[in-house]
Symmetry: C2
Subunit: 428 residues, 2 copies
């Protein structure tokens, strides 16, 4: 008797997850040198297999173009020899990072003589669900491998051919180092239900990381039995305090909004202290408008800007708390720090929040009272990034408070166990 198609997909996903679980047990205590060798061999295999990878990618790009995807999408999807070199270089960089597994993060001795230590161990099996970016396939596989985790990789369907071709190279690297090819598997079907089938397998998969837009994140959070760490949107604010220096105000606003508007740590809303608004807002607004930024303002800001002949429009209520990912900025004048804190508590997305001030008490209150994965004092929101913070490579930026909040590097792909050593100790 034939199985219905859905049961087959579920069975297939279970087999894939069981293979990952088996690989994870081996990886959990694989020596650092062996994991690093696999990463370097994988980098070499990317060159060996470059023709097949670029061909697969061309097929992905052609299909996406025919499906009507825009230029920015196609650019993120496309590979060329130079980008492939970049991916290989990233693999070698991960190989050169310190291995988090086995690190003793603290240790102490109990009065009864028991020696207690906390030791970093891999999470086990990590399911990564992401957008159509082929490089993420290799980056995520590399970070998972280095941290001793087996990876199940679920790229956006437009990048499936590229990702499968890349994962063959990665698997060659694993095999060359004597590690199981199943340590990093790309889900081989574009069927959306495959993701949901995997998300039911909480006895086999330890963590799901969805990275992408609101609908993807919500669908995963709603339907997952596997613990989820979300890499969600950044609705990032900059608060210009009464004492904010003008030149730095212009610099931080411009850097936050203009340097790279399409990323999650870009600025989406500017809050300005009423006492300094007349001084700060016209020049800041002028610089932004000159760079092509549309300013969506509350009535006070709108009046100030128009009086200074800076182009601006009225904000609608939904412009606050919105991730534009574009050259659009919400602007609001607030009466005091407390109002800025209230605004951020209401509209922020826990990603990145910044203050510009010379006032120490304001800086300390902002630092203490704002909940976000990164709080910036006199620095651009754009610094919330694993590389910029000095963490090494990152798999994304978590907006879930649990487990890892902020850039998720190698350490955040581990957990810790207690190791207790006695000499026949029993509890009385």
């Amino acid at each position: 008797m034939r199985q219905p198609a859905e049961a087959t997909l579920e069975q297939e996903m279970r087999r894939l997850a069981e293979a990952a679980r088996g690989a994870a047990r081996l990886l959990s205590y694989a020596p650092t040198a062996q994991k690093d060798a696999a990463l370097r061999e994988a980098a070499a295999a990317l060159a060996t297999r470059s023709r097949a990878i670029l061909e697969a990618n061309r097929a992905d790009v052609d299909a996406a173009r025919q499906a009507g995807q825009g230029a920015a999408f196609l650019d993120r999807l496309a590979l060329d020899p130079k980008r492939l070199d970049g991916i290989a270089r990233a693999l070698r960089e991960v190989a050169s990072l310190p291995d988090p597994v086995g690190e003793v993060t603290s240790s102490w001795r109990r009065p009864n003589g028991l020696a207690v230590k906390k030791v970093r161990i891999p999470l086990g099996v990590v399911l990564m669900v992401y957008e159509a970016r082929p490089n993420v396939t290799v980056d995520a596989a590399a970070l998972c491998l280095k941290s001793g985790n087996a990876a199940i990789l679920r790229p956006g369907s437009d990048a499936l051919r590229s990702s499968l071709a890349l994962s063959e190279a990665f698997a060659d690297g694993l095999a060359a180092a004597g590690l199981p090819r199943e340590a990093a598997q790309v889900v081989p079907t574009p069927d959306r239900e495959a993701t949901f089938a995997l998300l039911q397998l909480d006895e086999l998969i330890d963590l799901a990381i969805p990275r992408g837009g609101p609908s993807l994140i919500r669908a995963v959070a709603e339907r997952s039995r596997v613990p989820v760490v979300k890499h969600y949107q950044g609705v990032c604010h900059l608060f210009l305090d009464a004492s904010a220096p003008l030149d730095q105000a212009v610099a931080l606003a411009m850097n936050g909004k203009v340097q790279r508007p399409g990323v999650c740590n870009a600025l989406e809303c500017l809050l300005v202290h009423r006492a300094a608004a007349a001084k700060l807002l016209p020049p800041v607004g002028r610089a932004l408008a000159a760079a092509g930024v549309e300013l969506r303002c509350d009535p006070t800001a709108l009046t100030l800007l128009r009086r200074a002949a800076v182009k601006a429009v009225a904000a609608r209520p939904e412009d606050y708390g919105r991730e534009f990912l574009d050259k659009i900025l919400a602007v609001r004048v607030v009466p005091h720090l407390d109002a800025a804190l209230d605004h951020i508590a209401r509209y922020g997305s826990l990603h990145t929040e910044a203050i510009l001030t010379r006032d120490l008490p304001s800086a300390r209150r902002f630092e203490r009272e704002v909940t976000a994965s990164a709080v910036m004092v006199n620095a651009s929101t754009r610094f919330n990034d694993g590389g910029e913070l000095g963490l090494g490579a990152e798999i994304g930026i978590s907006t879930t408070k649990l487990h890892a909040f902020g850039p998720m590097g190698l350490a955040e792909l581990t957990t810790q166990k207690y190791v207790v050593e006695g000499d026949g100790h029993i509890r009385s």
Copy 2:
């Protein structure tokens, strides 16, 4: 027009969670002295309100007895003046613990001069779903308060009256210290659906901690959009290696199984190296049997024990991987360390695993290769406990690898944010 009953419950739970969220924002930066004052005032209020609490508890106990609950259940449910004193003492102990909030766990300076630090912050709102144990209501509220979190407490319905009475005393303490009473709320209805309504509110609740049996844990994990840290069962093993000393083998097996069989870090399965089984198993089995333990054995162990006139029965397959929580122990002879590791990987529940050995390589392999929240080398499984490990009070023992693995104390009720300070730094 009247709302249907379900919508009303959902609305009620949303209001409760919104009140918790509001309190959480205040708690997140409440000074340590204020939180400690609330805990000490709550301890005093327990005495003031003791008559009402004990009356409510008597009603709970009477109802549970009439509902046919057994003696062990009624004993966990019952309060008396002495137990109430113990609860008050626990509150004062939590007040005396260091405050985890604001702790800088690491800090560094970037080459560009940015100062980066990681700072402990509360999780926000914690939903605790647990069994009918009134003391947990106060313990959990206290640990959440000290760590700056608002608590929503959902006791087993048999303990609802007691828990509500206790939470009034706790709220008195909060109010006396100038903190909102909504910082710790007991869900005021026994309706099971209330839990599931709360578990939908992932924008208001940051963490759900279910503590209890398999059906509760599974129901929560399946229906929650809120991140879940499970406090699940302990299927704990002790492996007696070939070199295990006889006296310590007897002591560890007895301590693990007999001292308190009904707890999660009690021993459920004894594995014995074949090379030492003839020497170790008869005396170990004799001591256990004399203490009333039923030994459920594989054929090899059964033969050895019966030859030594120790009472034992044949194990059924389902006896492995089972949490007996009773004076029952599964026993198995294994040919070597690898077989013990395989058995534990297959049947363990990630809780606590122990080895008894004099052989250093065996100890190190066991320590490295076993995945569990605590790995014991020459020590009883019973030491996996917040107090015994020196962590102070604990809210339970997590068997989820994410966020907190093992005893969950104050630090595990926090997360960390980055605080970055510059002087107008922008990213280039």
